[in-house]
């Protein structure tokens, strides 16, 4: 009898070939609300873990997980899969996997995380559950939206998911009293938060103790996990706490990444701080690409290539800084110097960006890449840098994808930027100053001061001009970067490809961006 039903279900499965796609939210929002690298890192670990839980559940239901592709045959080996590597949060399954199954798996994973954090606080700070039980419970139940779609083929399943997602599925806890100092919303987590009044002294002592217990050896105002003056909400607290070894290992042994402490290292004793490079990127139109891949094998292949690329990217990058996450086609990282040479050479940035494009191409993924790169002054707060990164990436996408936006961000919040198709990033290397010096020896002030002069005299029209002429800007460019550049500006189609728009204004802005960014990054002074 058992054998019969099993057989029957297998046949019906292969006949209908039902595909299921699962995703959940907030993903972008969960990460976006982060201000510190540690929050971001914790957030991406949590997202990976939750994806992994859904993948495990699908495996245990004898469904075939097509993406993310995991090269193991035996479901019992799932426990050994390296989950620290980013798991994409869109999961494609062949077989009958219900919304309820997905919801259950995610809820279970999130509950493990919440319980581990709350339990650790109880045991290590001697906090009685009672005073904040309801608040934790509310966040345990209402933190996530789960989206589900199904269809006879992959494309239909994806479209079903997208349609269902249009109505969202959130329910969010409200709060009384002062808000988290990190995001400006949600209640400040403290041991008596369930009762309405916020007791300033109690909150203060809780955060002081928490900061000390998590990092007893840190400086008073510069602790590794949390500072005494921070006031976090429950979900924010959870993001921080999962980066703490004892808690992470309690949830899953692979969740903790011991090298993470490094990221927050300033130049230890000297107190000196330097410019850092931040990048955020993702593949263009991955959803559409997946739709074109109609059979399981090619989706699996694609998923494997993505994961392989992410892994390799992470290892290759190790010496230059830190990849905060590389999940599927999404990645974010920061470049900083090492102990020997704490100061990064800005000129290497261009080289590295060109390499990045090269390595993406080598991954043979069949899609292009858009990246926002921010070269940030030392005292720009992390959360602002992150926001600039997102804006830069968005700009690269909006102007036509397959592009990089480089934004040089100064300590006073001002910035200069340039968005270019990857191919033309190389043009920076063709710079030749008035004395015919090139490469490292070139003096970038020549072109920079010429630009400034021409702008000041309105010979190159200002942004506000009604009908600007790009004539002089192009002349200036060809003078310093070579006559061969000119042809890209003659046809409207090429201009559009280069700048994202057809008009002359965009040409001026593009050339100006190139010179300003070049002066900041390539100049050797």
């Amino acid at each position: 009898m058992d054998v019969l039903t099993q057989e029957k279900s297998q046949t019906s499965e292969s006949v209908s070939g039902k595909y299921t796609v699962i995703t959940f939210a907030p993903v972008q929002g969960f990460i976006e609300k982060s201000r510190k690298l540690r929050d971001l890192y914790g957030a991406s670990q949590i997202l990976s873990y939750l994806s992994w839980k859904i993948v495990c559940a699908a495996n245990s239901k004898n469904c075939e997980v097509i993406s993310p592709a995991i090269a193991i045959d035996d479901a019992s080996e799932m426990a050994n899969v390296d989950i620290v590597q980013g798991m994409p949060n869109r999961i494609l399954i062949l077989g009958d996997f219900s919304h309820n199954d997905a919801q259950k798996a995610l809820t279970e994973g999130w509950k493990e995380i919440v319980t581990a954090c709350r339990g650790w606080l109880r045991d290590n700070l001697q906090i009685d559950d009672e005073g904040w039980f309801n608040s934790w419970t509310r966040w345990q139940i209402h933190a996530w939206e789960v989206f589900w779609g199904s269809g006879a083929d992959i494309e239909l399943a994806m479209r079903d998911l997208e349609t269902r997602k249009l109505r969202r599925a959130w329910t969010v806890p409200n709060w009384n009293g002062e808000s988290s100092s990190l995001s400006g919303h949600d209640a400040i987590a403290h041991p008596n938060m369930d009762s309405l009044g916020t007791n300033e002294a109690e909150i203060k002592s809780f955060y002081k103790r928490l900061a000390e217990v998590l990092d007893p050896s840190g400086d008073e105002n510069d602790r590794a996990y949390i500072n005494e003056n921070e006031r976090l909400s429950i979900p924010e607290l959870i993001k921080r706490l999962v980066t703490y070894g004892a808690i992470a290992r309690h949830i899953h042994r692979d969740l903790y990444a011991p090298t993470f402490r490094e990221v927050l290292r300033k130049d230890d004793k000297s107190g000196a701080t330097y410019w850092t490079g931040w990048f955020m990127g993702d593949g263009d139109k991955v959803g559409d690409h997946l739709k074109r891949l109609t059979d399981n094998a090619s989706v699996t292949q694609f998923s494997q290539s993505l994961r392989a690329w992410g892994k390799k990217f992470q290892t290759d990058f190790d010496k230059k800084g830190r990849v905060v996450y590389a999940g599927g086609d999404d990645f974010l990282g920061v470049m900083y110097g090492d102990k020997q040479t704490p100061k990064l050479d800005s000129r290497e940035v261009i080289e590295w960006l060109l390499d990045l494009r090269g390595s993406w191409e080598k991954g043979n993924l069949g899609i292009t890449l858009s990246v926002g790169f921010v070269w940030a002054g030392h005292s720009v707060p992390q959360r602002d840098v992150l926001q600039h990164c997102r804006e830069a990436e968005k700009l690269a996408k909006n102007l036509g994808r397959d592009r990089v936006t480089i934004r040089v961000l100064f300590n006073n919040g001002q910035f200069v930027q340039w968005t270019t198709p990857w191919k033309y990033l190389e043009w920076l290397k063709d710079y030749r100053d008035r004395n015919d010096n090139t490469g490292k020896d070139a003096n970038w002030s020549h072109v920079y001061t010429d630009l400034a002069q021409l702008k000041a005299r309105h010979a190159i029209p200002p942004e506000t001009a009604e009908h600007p002429s790009d004539y002089l800007a192009i002349e200036l460019l060809t003078l310093y970067f070579g006559e061969d550049k000119r042809k890209m500006f003659s046809k409207a189609k090429d201009r559009k490809h280069l700048t994202g728009e057809k008009d002359e204004k965009s040409v001026i802005a593009w050339i100006e961006g190139m010179i300003l960014v070049g002066w900041q990054l390539c100049s050797n002074i």
């Binding site: 509310r138 969202r168 959130w170 409200n174 009384n176 808000s179 400006g184 105002n221 959360r383 926001q387």
Partner: protein, 357 residues
């Protein structure tokens, strides 16, 4: 019903706050920037002005004042103000598309691949066919200035400004006093509005023309007030049948949880069809009262109900108070925070969706 259009013209910079919440940590930087100031900011301004001027009807005002916004307009045409575009319309620079209902599901032409480049449309074009809105958009590119743009990009941009504070008696920047002192510089995330633009709010009550302090950091603005044109009033009186779109964020739910639609929309045990997005925070401080921190459904959200709204509830103005969450209900009316409906919460207008009768 709303009677007046309140026009706010910035004198110099305005300030972008991180929601209703300001602290030294959140005063700086760009994350969570929120602009334009919501209706609560204007409501507070009107109430404070009336209190300071000792107006005789202050109590009546406090009980009934209803303000909605924020919207914006070209300086010379405040009555043609811009409101958020319903999410059923996707209007790009080169192309446009729309969602329709097919067998109870959202459908659109997936070959078109349009990015929504515009988020604001003129109220004059409300519920016009997509073609007309888009055609006007294309025409206005040809510099026919007399034509009102059907859609437009918002007229403000964020700029960072570094503020030094000087010592009281010396001309150099103040030095930090101790380790916790953040020093003498702070970075303000200011907002610059185009010179020929203004912010616009709807109000049930007048406000005296004059200069006021407004929004975060209390920059100066000039406020004028005019009667709302009859055809705009007609639009707000137009009955809602099954589909409508929010032009202001909406808070639903109870004091503990925020949700996406009021229970009343769940007629026949079937939740409404929606086109919406992630929640946005919604909180305001009135005097010393800090309201409950809540989450709102963003403006632009489209609802399609299973059954048409009853005639007694079929305009926003007729939505019963009990649909809106209310904190401290047990307290006297003037002791509790303002009802969310009085802050224009969930202000909406009927729309036509193809495939919905």
């Amino acid at each position: 019903m709303f009677k007046y259009l309140i026009v706010v013209r910035p004198l110099g910079f305005l300030y972008a706050s991180a929601g209703a919440f300001l602290s030294p940590e959140n005063l700086v930087g760009r994350s969570g920037t929120k602009f334009p100031p919501d209706a609560a900011a204007l409501s507070g301004l009107i109430l404070r002005a009336s209190y300071e001027q000792k107006l005789p009807n202050h109590k009546e005002l406090k009980l009934n004042l209803t303000v909605a916004g924020a919207f914006w307009a070209k300086d010379d045409k405040p009555q043609d103000f811009y409101v958020p575009i319903p999410r059923s319309l996707i209007i790009g620079k080169e192309n446009a598309d729309e969602w329709e209902m097919l067998d109870g599901k959202w459908e659109k032409d997936c070959t078109k691949d349009v990015d929504a480049d515009y988020k604001w449309q003129s109220i004059r074009y409300w519920d016009n066919p997509l073609d007309e809105i888009f055609k006007n958009r294309q025409n206005s590119k040809d510099k026919q200035k007399h034509i009102l743009d059907s859609t437009a990009e918002p007229p403000w941009k964020f700029t960072s400004m570094l503020h030094p504070t000087l010592e009281k008696d010396q001309r150099h920047v103040r030095l930090p006093q101790d380790e916790n002192d953040r020093g003498s510089l702070f970075l303000e995330n200011a907002v610059q509005m185009d010179e020929d633009s203004c912010l616009v709010y709807l109000s049930t009550h007048r406000v005296e023309h004059g200069w006021y302090r407004f929004g975060g950091e209390n920059h100066m603005v000039e406020i004028t007030c005019q009667d709302l044109e009859q055809n705009i009033l007609n639009l707000f009186n137009e009955p809602i049948k099954r589909s409508f779109a929010l032009i202001c964020p909406a808070v639903w739910g109870n004091n503990n949880l925020s949700v996406r639609y009021p229970q009343a929309f769940k007629a026949g045990e079937k939740p409404p069809q929606m086109l919406t997005d992630r929640p946005v925070t919604f909180r305001y401080r009135m005097g010393s009262n800090l309201g409950i921190g809540r989450y709102a459904v963003p403006s632009g959200t489209v609802y399609v109900l299973k059954h048409p709204l009853d005639e007694e509830h079929n305009t926003w103005w007729k939505f019963p108070n009990k649909w809106f969450p209310q904190s401290n209900e047990d307290k006297d009316f003037d002791k509790r925070p303002l009802p969310l409906k009085h802050l224009g919460c969930g202000l909406c207008l009927p729309i036509t969706i193809k495939g919905v009768d």
